[in-house]
């Protein structure tokens, strides 16, 4: 029914460790699990929490993300009363701008926050994949009488040395915060999502900008923690959390979806993950195809051997071709007797006949899009 939370997704993370994968797209637009983009999972979290008014703060390289989201129709976010609002970087006669972190982005999109009518706002990053019901988080926030509530996880999988934000949590309250520690001291990793009263966020951003903290929200939250004026709640994210911040973590996250249990957690019958449609026919298995432990999207044509891999929509695997432990994106073609192992082939790549492209498992190789090898 009528909701009291508006969503705001920040897509400005810049992750150089993703190499060629984010050369022409931002992290939110990363192709995931055969037919999705990373942002689809964030949108699914919001939609299934009843959030119907969602703003998306765009940054550099947002063409593919805009193309993906289109009118918001596939997510039923195309209404007049609510829906998806694309917030492109603000450019005027004065400002040819790119945001300098979340705080700056929030400040430049105050209009969206002001125009919204919902009492609360959930602000998320877009480079993390997880499942949460923000209504549970909201209830926790209210019961806990918090001013702001941060989402965190104990999943050790997302811990990084010298990177990330770590929380000391005592009685559902954040008491200390560490940013990019050499070695994290706290077991709780901030997942990049918080809930707050909308008016309070507007006020905080206004004040933070006025006092010159233009860089990011990190300082804003860090300062809130240190000032001890506000009650900063903490809500634990149920289930697995994936932080997509390098080629390795991108590869591992996708591969994890070959696990029945983790897949069942992410794709529930009552909580579908929507994405842009392509109207492809079902996948075709022809000739001597041999496919095991693999996710296959519609539109694929498989005549070769595939194992432990993920095939996006429209991939063609010719007779004699072999794919192992690889991620093959949309419309890639693996020609006769070609072999690929431990690779990530971006969209529309072509592997010529008999070509072998084999990388070590520990260091998956990325082939940029449109390339023919």
């Amino acid at each position: 029914m009528k909701q009291n939370i508006v969503g705001l997704i920040y897509t400005g993370e810049r992750v150089d460790e993703l190499q060629e994968l984010t050369r022409y797209r931002n992290t939110a637009a990363l192709p995931m699990v055969g037919r999705y983009r990373l942002i689809d999972f964030t949108l699914a979290n919001m939609i299934h929490s009843g959030i119907k008014n969602i703003g998306i703060i765009m940054q550099k390289n947002y063409h593919s993300l805009m193309d993906h989201l289109g009118s918001g129709r596939e997510w039923n976010l195309h209404g007049k009363r609510s829906g998806l609002t694309i917030l492109p970087p603000f450019m005027s006669r004065e400002n040819v701008g790119v945001y300098d972190g979340l705080l700056d982005a929030l400040h430049n999109n105050m209009n969206f926050m002001r125009r919204s009518v919902e009492r609360n706002i959930v602000v998320t990053d877009s480079n993390v994949l997880y499942q949460v019901d923000f209504r549970d988080m909201m209830n926790h926030h209210l019961d806990n009488k918090a001013d702001i509530t941060l989402l965190y996880t104990k999943d050790r999988n997302v811990r990084r040395n010298a990177r990330g934000r770590y929380l000391q949590v005592e009685k559902d309250q954040v008491t200390k915060l560490e940013i990019d520690p050499t070695i994290p001291h706290f077991e709780n990793t901030y997942v990049g999502a918080f809930i707050i009263r909308r008016e309070l966020l507007i006020d905080l951003v206004d004040r933070a900008v006025a006092s010159g903290q233009h860089h990011s929200s990190r300082e804003m939250i860090a300062q809130m923690v240190s000032e001890r004026i506000y009650r900063i709640g903490a809500f634990e994210c149920p289930g697995r959390v994936w932080m997509i911040d390098s080629v390795e973590s991108y590869y591992q996250c996708n591969m994890d979806f070959l696990n029945d249990k983790l897949r069942a957690q992410a794709f529930r019958d009552d909580k579908p993950v929507w994405t842009k449609l392509r109207d492809e026919m079902p996948a075709r298995y022809m000739g001597d195809s041999l496919v095991t432990n693999t996710l296959v999207a519609d539109g694929c044509l498989i005549e070769g051997t595939v194992e432990n891999s993920i095939l996006f929509r429209g991939v063609v695997v010719k007779p004699g071709a072999v794919i192992r432990n690889s991620i093959i994106m949309q419309d890639a073609v693996i020609s006769r007797n070609a072999e690929v192992e431990n690779c990530i082939l971006d969209k529309q790549t072509t592997l010529r006949e008999d070509v072998r492209l084999i990388a070590p498992r520990s260091y998956p190789l990325v082939v940029p899009k449109n390339l023919t090898i």
């Binding site: 699990v33 055969g34 037919r35 129709r73 070959l258 029945d260 897949r263 992410a266 794709f267 579908p272 993950v273 929507w274 994405t275 449609l277 109207d279 492809e280 026919m281 079902p282 996948a283 075709r284 298995y285 022809m286 000739g287 195809s289 496919v291 095991t292 432990n293 693999t294 996710l295 296959v296 999207a297 519609d298 539109g299 044509l301 595939v306 993920i310 095939l311």
Partner: protein, 390 residues
């Protein structure tokens, strides 16, 4: 606002399709699944979208609910526009009492006012029973070029089958000079496909006068076409050469699915210039498990295959458990095949659940059918040609 549509399409989706047995007990024939992710009606609707026809009336009176839900706003076929779009048109009450559609022509007659509001020049009549890709714009261009009152799409059938069809005997210019309904001694093999382009005024006039004839069966083939021929109207034939399959029986529906599994399928559904659109259910990619085997099959998103699937069509969200064998079969959406069950030469309808070790169908003989939502007990045996359902 005054509207002018070049062409409005009317899709006759009314039939119960009783020859499809339990498959149409709960849904109308046009809503029957086909080819893994389609329903029969996706073909005429997608043909309309691809032909640039943006206004379609769907005439139905049998089990319209599923069709209504499936069509929804029309968005999957780009038919959700404010100047036209897709409308489900059931028979309605006129003043004190209403009447059901008496025949194909009567169904259109009862919806003349619907057509009138778009003020079209031409009306395309379609049926919802066939699998084919057809550029109606070409047929329409043919109609306009020949200044016809009615253009009938025809396809050449083998001479030995010709007596089973309505045949259009034409002169050398393609003008129809005679119409024979299932003649014993066919003079031509041009079978009518039941696809017509009418000039709107002609259609309106002939439907109106046909309605006044109490002896008429109000059918296009039996009444309207013969009357127009007798009146000397210009009727022309338009030849269609592509794949065209009536899926009106269990056997032909199964056949049409199997057609998709040949190395060079007679109908290309992978054609990106002529996509067949369908309502999408938002399933993840299908999963071919470490021990599963899939050969010569179509597998749709959402499936999970732990058993063996050979020469079969698996629709969205089908689960095949370990040890199960699915061969020469059509499995419709959301069906579950239990452990060690064996499915051969069969159609398993939507949401059916086949219990462990059940055996459905046989290697030879007629197609076995399990109806929708049917739960088949473990170990149950359903022989060739048998049907099981609620």
């Amino acid at each position: 606002m005054q509207q002018h549509k070049t062409c409005v399409a009317m899709l006759l989706a009314g039939g119960q399709g009783s020859r499809l047995g339990i498959l149409t007990r709960h849904v109308a024939k046009p809503a029957v699944p086909y080819g893994g992710k389609y329903r029969i009606i996706d073909f005429p609707l997608s043909n309309c979208a691809n032909s640039g026809i943006d206004t379609v009336g769907v005439l139905t009176q049998y089990k319209p609910m599923e069709l209504n839900s499936y069509i929804g706003s029309g968005a999957p076929w780009d038919l959700d526009i404010s100047t036209g779009g897709v409308f489900v048109l059931p028979p309605y009450s006129k003043g004190e009492e209403g009447e059901w559609y008496k025949g194909t022509a009567n169904a259109i007659y009862q919806n003349l006012a619907f057509i009138e509001q778009f003020n079209p020049k031409y009306v395309l009549i379609l049926s919802g029973d066939h699998i084919y890709k057809c550029d109606y714009a070409e047929m329409l261009a043919h109609h306009i070029k020949h200044e016809a009152a009615l253009t009938v799409a025809v396809r050449q059938v083998p001479w030995e089958d010709a007596s089973r069809f309505g045949l259009m005997n034409t002169d050398e210019d393609g003008r129809i000079i005679e119409f024979e309904e299932k003649p014993k001694n066919p003079k031509s093999n041009n079978a009518s496909m039941g696809v017509y382009v009418f000039t709107w005024e002609k259609l309106r006039d002939y439907l109106t006068s046909d309605e006044r004839d109490p002896k008429s069966q109000n059918d296009f083939g039996k009444n309207i076409i013969p009357t127009m021929l007798n009146a000397g109207e210009r009727l022309v034939a338009w030849n269609f050469n592509g794949y065209w399959k009536d899926v009106g029986t269990i056997e032909s529906l199964w056949d049409a699915n199997m057609d998709l599994l040949s190395p060079t399928p007679p109908i290309n559904l992978h054609d990106r210039k002529w996509r067949i659109y369908a309502r999408n259910v938002g399933e993840p990619p299908h999963f071919a498990s470490p021990k599963g085997v899939i050969q010569n099959s179509l597998v749709t998103e959402g499936c999970e295959v732990y058993g063996k699937v050979v020469h079969s069509v698996l629709s969205a969200d089908v689960k095949v458990a370990e040890g199960a064998v699915v061969e020469d079969a059509v499995i419709m959406p959301h069906a579950k095949i239990g452990k060690n069950a064996v499915i051969r030469r069969a159609i398993i309808a939507e949401n059916a659940e086949i219990g462990e070790g059940a055996v459905i169908g046989e290697e030879t003989g007629d197609i076995a059918v399990v109806g929708s939502n049917t739960i088949v007990a473990p170990g149950y045996v359903l022989k060739a040609g048998e049907q099981l359902g609620e």
